[in-house]
C-alpha cells in the first residue's frame, strides 16, 4: 500500500489503492451485510449522496436462484449474533438482469461476491460477472462445499489452489478471496490463494456456531447450524488477520466485529490494509462513515498524517 500525503483538510489522508481499486477511505462492507438496493428503497437518494462505504461488496451470487434457509434465521448472542441465511439470491441470470444495472449506478467501485458448488460453476460465474463493465472486482466466497469432494473449498489449501487454477484465467479483473475462519490454520489457505493469483484476501467469514432454544432444548435456527459474527468474534478475527497478513504480500481486508474507529485501527495494527464492516451495519446503517471519521481521529491522535501499517507484520 502506498502512503498518501496529508489531506488538504488537515485530517489524515485515508485514500488508498487496493488490488487495483481506488478507494477514498479504507472501509468497505462485508458481503451479505448491506443490500444497497433495499437500502435505496428504505432511505431514498440520501443514500447515494452519503454512501457509507468506499466500495460496495454485493451479496453472494450463485449460478442458480436460491430462496435461502428456512426461518428462523437469526439468533442474538452476547455481543453478537448467529445467522443461517443460506445465500438467498436471484441467481446469475436474475442478478445480471435486475440487480447489476442498479448496483452499477452507485458512485463507488462495485465488488461482486460469487460462489458455486463446483469449479466449472465458479469459473462460469467469474467469467460472466467479470465481463460486465459495472464490475470493478470479484470476491470469491469459498465457504461453500464442493459437491464433488464434499469439502468446503476454502477449508483446505489444495482445494483453494485448485479453485484458483480454474477461475483465475477467466477474468482480468481483481480477484479477492474471502477466507473462512473454520480452519485450524488460516495462513496456508491465504498463501494458496496468493499463489493461485488472488489480488487480495478478505477475512473473516462467520464462525460456525449453534444456537439452542432454551425452552424447546432444540436448535433455534431453521437450518440448525449458523455463523457467529459481531464483536464476539473480533479477537479471533484480529489474530487471523495478523496470521494472514504475516503470510502473504497481497493486501488483506480485515473484518470481524468492528464497531468503531478504534476497532478498525486494531485491524490495521494487526496488518490489514483495509477493513470491512459487517454486523455493525445492522445496528447503524451509516457505520461505515462513522468508522471512517473515528479512524481519522484515532490516527490523528497517534500523530499519523496518513494511513499506514503501524506494526509491520513479521514475515
Amino acid at each position: 500500500m502506498t502512503l498518501a500525503a496529508q489531506s488538504p483538510g488537515g485530517g489524515p489522508d485515508l485514500s488508498l489503492r487496493l488490488a487495483g481499486l481506488t478507494l477514498g477511505f479504507p472501509v468497505i462492507n462485508g458481503s451479505g451485510t448491506f443490500d444497497a438496493i433495499a437500502a435505496l428503497r428504505t432511505f431514498g437518494d440520501g443514500l447515494r449522496e452519503s454512501f457509507p462505504f468506499a466500495a460496495f461488496v454485493s451479496k453472494t451470487i450463485t449460478p442458480h436462484p436460491r430462496g435461502g434457509n428456512r426461518p428462523p434465521r437469526l439468533w442474538e448472542t452476547p455481543a453478537g449474533m448467529i445467522n443461517s441465511i443460506g445465500l438467498p439470491n436471484k441467481g446469475l441470470e436474475g442478478f445480471l438482469a435486475h440487480d447489476l444495472p442498479e448496483l452499477g449506478t452507485l458512485a463507488v467501485p462495485l465488488v461482486v461476491s460469487v460462489a458455486a458448488f463446483d469449479h466449472d460453476g465458479f469459473a462460469r460465474m467469474v467469467e460472466t460477472v467479470g465481463a460486465r463493465p459495472e464490475v470493478a472486482a470479484l470476491e470469491l466466497n469459498v465457504s461453500c462445499p464442493n459437491v464433488k469432494s464434499g469439502c468446503v473449498m476454502g477449508s483446505d489449501p489444495r482445494e483453494t489452489a485448485e479453485l484458483l487454477e480454474h477461475v483465475r484465467p477467466r477474468t482480468g479483473k481483481p480477484l479477492i478471496v474471502k477466507l473462512t475462519p473454520n480452519v485450524s490454520d488460516i495462513a496456508p489457505i491465504a498463501i494458496a490463494a496468493e499463489q493461485g493469483g488472488a489480488d487480495a484476501v478478505s477475512l473473516i467469514n462467520t464462525l460456525r456456531a449453534l444456537a439452542i432454544d432454551h425452552v424447546s432444548g432444540r436448535p433455534a435456527l431453521g437450518a440448525i447450524r449458523g455463523g457467529l459474527s459481531g464483536p464476539a468474534v473480533r479477537a479471533i478475527a484480529l489474530d487471523m488477520t495478523h496470521s494472514a497478513s504475516s503470510s502473504v504480500s497481497v493486501p488483506v481486508i480485515g473484518m470481524g466485529g468492528i464497531q468503531c474507529g478504534r476497532d478498525a485501527l486494531e485491524f490495521f495494527d494487526a496488518g490489514a490494509n483495509c477493513v470491512a464492516i459487517g454486523t455493525e451495519n445492522f445496528r447503524d446503517p451509516v457505520a461505515g462513515l462513522r468508522v471512517r471519521d473515528e479512524l481519522a481521529a484515532a490516527l490523528a491522535e497517534r500523530g499519523h498524517g496518513a494511513l499506514q501499517r503501524v506494526v509491520a507484520p513479521a514475515r
Binding site: 451479505g32 428503497r41 432511505f43 442458480h64 437469526l74 455481543a79 445467522n83 443460506g86 464497531q259 445496528r283
Partner: protein
C-alpha cells in the same frame, strides 16, 4: 443431543417480488431521541421519543430502537446487542410513542428508560397499512375491522386514529384484565377477550372475529357491511385470522413480526414464506396481505 443433518439450503421457495408500499422513506442514519414520555398502560409501558428530525410515519411502519447508552456491548459484552423492532403506536407532534411488553433483555432495558435518556431510532421502516378502499378485492365502501392480540394492538392504535370514523369494530384479546387495560388506547367501543375470562369473552379474540363476520354476512345484501380486517398479534392468532378470512373471502392485512437484525433489508433474516417465495418483513412488510401468505408460513 444428536443434531439433525440439515446444512443444505432449500432451493425453493425462492425470493418474493418487492412490494411497492405505501412507504414513507427513512432519513439515512439513526437519530438519538430523548425520552419525553414513560407511562404504564395496563401491564405494558408506553415510551415516547422526541424525533424532531424525522418524518411522520405511516400507520403500520416501524422503527429499530436501542438505548443510546447502556445497550449490549456498550455495557461490557452482554445482550441486548441488536436494536429491536417496534411498530409506531401513536404520533403526538414530533413525539413517537412505542408500546413495550417486557419479554427479554432488550425490551426490559428500553422500558426502563428514564425521561431525558436517549434512544437510537432508525425509521420509519417498512410499508404501512392500506386503507379499505385501496385494498385489492375489497368491496366499495368497505370499513375496517381491527383485531389485536396482546402487544399486537400497538400498530392498530395509530391505524384506528388515522381511519377515524371508518372503523366498524375493534376486537382485542389479552392474557388477563391487567393487560386488557391497554384496550383503552383504542377508545371505548372495543370487544374484549381474555385467556382467563377476567374481562370480556373467555377465550380467543378470533371467536369475536368469527361472530362479527357472521353478523356481517347475515346482512350481506347491505354492501356497506363489507369489511377489511386489519390484524396484529401472535402468529397462531394471525394464522387463525388468515384461515377465517380466506374461508369467507374477506380481505385481511396482517402486521407480522420476525426476529430482525437491521430493519432495512440488509441481513435477509426476517423472512416470511409467501406464495411467491420468501419475503423480507422489514422492506416488503411488516404488513402482508393474508392472501399472500403461504399455507405453511409459520
Amino acid at each position: 443431543m444428536t443434531l439433525p443433518e440439515s446444512d443444505v439450503a432449500e432451493l425453493e421457495p425462492g425470493i418474493a417480488a418487492a412490494q411497492p408500499g405505501p412507504r414513507t422513506p427513512a432519513p439515512l442514519g439513526r437519530r438519538a431521541c430523548p425520552v419525553t414520555l414513560s407511562e404504564p398502560v395496563g401491564r405494558y409501558r408506553m415510551i415516547g421519543l422526541e424525533d424532531r428530525g424525522g418524518p411522520t410515519p405511516l400507520p403500520g411502519q416501524f422503527y429499530m430502537l436501542a438505548c443510546a447508552d447502556g445497550w449490549g456491548s456498550d455495557l461490557g459484552g452482554e445482550r441486548p446487542y441488536l436494536p429491536r423492532a417496534f411498530s409506531v403506536c401513536r404520533v403526538r407532534g414530533a413525539r413517537l410513542d412505542f408500546l413495550i411488553d417486557v419479554v427479554g433483555p432488550g425490551t426490559e432495558r428500553l422500558a426502563s428508560m428514564a425521561l431525558g435518556e436517549r434512544a437510537w431510532a432508525l425509521g420509519p421502516l417498512g410499508i404501512g397499512f392500506t386503507a379499505p378502499d385501496g385494498v385489492e378485492s375489497s368491496a366499495p365502501g368497505a370499513r375496517a375491522l381491527l383485531v389485536g392480540g396482546g402487544i399486537g394492538i400497538a400498530p392498530l392504535v395509530i391505524w384506528n386514529e388515522a381511519l377515524a370514523g371508518n372503523v366498524s369494530n375493534v376486537a382485542l384479546g389479552f392474557r388477563d384484565e391487567e393487560f386488557a387495560a391497554a384496550a383503552s388506547l383504542l377508545g371505548a367501543n372495543v370487544s374484549l377477550a381474555t385467556d382467563d375470562g377476567s374481562v370480556g369473552h373467555a377465550g380467543l379474540v378470533t371467536d369475536l372475529l368469527s361472530e362479527q363476520l357472521e353478523r356481517n354476512s347475515d346482512r350481506n345484501s347491505d354492501r356497506n357491511s363489507a369489511v377489511v380486517v386489519y390484524a396484529c398479534g401472535p402468529p397462531a392468532m394471525l394464522d387463525a385470522i388468515r384461515r377465517i378470512c380466506t374461508e369467507r373471502g374477506v380481505p385481511a392485512q396482517l402486521a407480522l413480526e420476525q426476529a430482525m437484525a437491521c430493519g432495512y433489508g440488509a441481513c435477509f433474516g426476517c423472512v416470511v414464506r409467501t406464495r411467491d417465495g420468501y419475503r423480507r418483513l422489514c422492506v416488503d412488510g411488516p404488513i402482508v396481505a393474508a392472501s399472500d401468505l403461504h399455507e405453511e408460513w409459520q
